[in-house]
């Protein structure tokens, strides 16, 4: 197979050597530069929905999501600035205001990526009014539960179910703020015939939206070994394809 061309560019002033087919996010991580992400998960396809990873590029006012943007020779990327920091806080504020995220009663308290991002970006208050929508909890599955109140619509569950498990139980229904994760054709999870009960979706969920039944407040911890497994699965799959 023809390997992509090698180029050099800069992230935050640091010289980076790269293949043309590596994203800015991958390269930043390889070089120890932190860019916050939420919908991105190594081993799954890129989505570009959360917009937390937006970066600045010298010479343009436009912002680019690091997870789906490929560098070009001589590009100068900046991953942190007052503007980006403010926008990242805004995105987190939007997410907290959109549904009902109450950490003190959440199974994932202390193990939540949304909570962690709020800590690390210093988002200490929500400026916009809370929308407080009335949302359901689907507890029809014997092993797991889905709490729409805590969902951030990152679609990691949709992608892991489709791309790794191959079941495609999950999908998205509705538009805009009414968009929801649904099992099969908008059925209760417990009645979804395609679900293999593998639990991959629960492992990749960044918040407490998908949880193991029986977990109480702050008890829902993810398996640390699952994520490496995910990228290995993906890598193996890609090699087979080639």
């Amino acid at each position: 197979m023809k390997r992509a061309r090698v180029i050099t560019f800069k992230i935050d002033g640091q010289d980076i050597g790269a293949h043309e087919d590596e994203t800015i996010l991958e390269l930043a991580r390889q070089n120890g530069i932190y860019i916050p992400t939420l919908c991105f998960l190594e081993g799954l396809s890129q989505y570009g929905g959360c917009r937390l990873c937006v970066v600045e590029v010298k010479g343009t006012d436009r912002l680019f999501p690091a997870c789906t943007t490929y560098p070009i020779e001589g590009m100068e990327v900046f991953t942190d600035s007052d503007r980006l920091h403010g926008y990242r806080q805004d995105i987190l504020q939007f997410l907290f205001s959109e549904r009902n995220h109450v950490c003190s009663v959440c199974v994932s308290n202390g193990n939540c990526e949304l909570q962690g991002l709020a800590f690390s970006t210093g988002m200490d208050h929500v400026e916009v009014p809370y929308l407080n929508p009335q949302l359901d909890v689907d507890a029809s599955h014997p092993l797991f539960g889905l709490d729409h109140n805590r969902c951030v619509m990152c679609t990691r569950c949709v992608r892991v179910c489709d791309e790794i498990e191959g079941a495609h139980t999950w999908d998205v229904v509705g538009r805009g703020a009414d968009a929801r994760i649904v099992a099969d054709l908008n059925q209760p999870w417990g009645e979804a015939a395609s679900c293999t009960s593998c639990g991959k979706c629960v492992q990749v969920c960044p918040t407490g939206a998908l949880f193991r039944k029986g977990a109480s407040v702050a008890e829902m911890r993810k398996q640390a070994t699952f994520l490496p497994y995910l990228s290995q699965m993906r890598a193996g799959w890609q090699n087979e394809e080639k």
């Binding site: 929905g49 917009r51 937006v54 939007f94 205001s97 959109e98 805009g176």
Partner: protein, 557 residues
Amino acid sequence: MIDRFEKIKRKEREAAAGVDYTIGVCVAASCLSLQGDKVLDAFQEGIEGPKEEGSPPSRCRAKGVGCLGLCSRGPLVSVTKQQDQPADDQSRVLYQDVTVDDAPRILEAHEADKTVPDILCPTDTPFFERQIKIVLENSGKIDPTRIEEYIAADGYHALLEAVTEMTPNQVIDEIVRSGLRGRGGGGYPTGLKWTTVAKAQEEKVKYVICNADEGDPGAFMDRSVLESDPHRIIEGMTIAGYAVGASRGYIYVRGEYPLAIGRLKKAINQARRQNVLGNGICGTTFNFQIEIRLGAGAFVCGEETALIASIEGKRGQPRPRPPYPAELGLWHEPTLINNVETFANIAPIIRNGGDWFASYGTATSNGTKVFALAGSVAKNGLIEVPMGITLHEIVEELGGGTANGHQIKAVQTGGPSGGCIPASYFETPVDYESLKKLGSIMGSGGLITMDETSNMVDVARYFMEFCMAESCGKCVPCRVGTVHLHNLLDKIYNGKATHKDLALLERLCSFVSETSLCGLGQAAPNPIRSTLRFFREEYLDLLVDEPVHAISEEVAA
């Protein structure tokens, strides 16, 4: 092939020569909703129905035609005298607000070479005289359900010339020379887009897509073109297919346009039968198939990557660009995607040459633009004007000012992605750059006029409500931001907001437009930004220093 076209032309001429008057009844959606079809039936009944013994055969024939333009006075009926053919707009008689009962009167009058003065529509007004018709050249003249009339009006001649006498590169050169820019709103040079797709790897399968998912509030240009002259789109797409090396095309029409869909389907079948579509087009080795795909009501599917996902059978949501569809489009193949009006311009450009087209319009925006003139103006309808015409001319001269005696306050162009332009800027020429400078966009051609009775905060709120309902929900800034922006506007309009809320509104506007994934979110704050820029005092008038009972109300809720 050309012999066949000539034969069809001759037959059409003979049919027209058999009578003295040809009566054209508008059968596009607007006039149909006012019983235009019943009017047509009444004319046919009057011509072909039982007559008194010994009376001579009728000197008239009646047919359905496409949009006649002045939609607010429909149903419209045009009467063309035989020796006037080919008729231009000025030499025919037009009747407005025609009812079923008027049909016998019109017939009777014209049998005696007279007219019916009380329902006569004056055609010596700027609304008709200032228009230059390229896209709409056949609208209101030919029967959209008959390919023979399209061919008789020089239709498919451009395709024949392209596939038999020109190389694909020559076709593209002609488009580049015309300076045509995308009519869907972005204004990307069409020739450049065609070149990019043509240059994509030769061994690849390529696709041509016509974006007919017209969704801006108040816009109906594409619908009218599809209903009035469907063959024009088929011809434009087939020429595009030949130029870029594609053999399959898709027309993505919104499901809310059943009449347009029906006429397109009929037109595709007719075109296949005439060998101007399908395999071995015009006796050459060029093959091109067109399929229709229906949209299911999502506005965002007008965004090209979402449209492609929708054709593929996936959830219609956009993906980040680049890669652009020209490189990685439908089924991951290079794809040319243009708007209805862009394709409608192709055949005339090939027929008359790129330089001819470039002679219309301004230096950077060539040709004409079709606008759907809506709102407070006296004359609502479909107009085609040269680029560079001023807004004042469109609104005050063509549109005839307001119907209710109020002053025009602003026009809104570009739908929910555009902005409001105040009357003080009406001397601005209509071209891509000038409108952009004013914080609006050319858009697909919706032009909504508003008079003094409109409140601009309410206008912005309306458009934000639209964006909120139509956001796909993929990216956070658009999904949540449109809700917050709408709520803030609602708060301001209801007199409950403070200066702090206005500051938040302005900050969120730039946040949403800079971080959103696709054009819908990036442009969603435009109606707010442009109204804030030109009508800031209307926002300030509604602000209160302290929120009135805000706390107690929240508790109560």
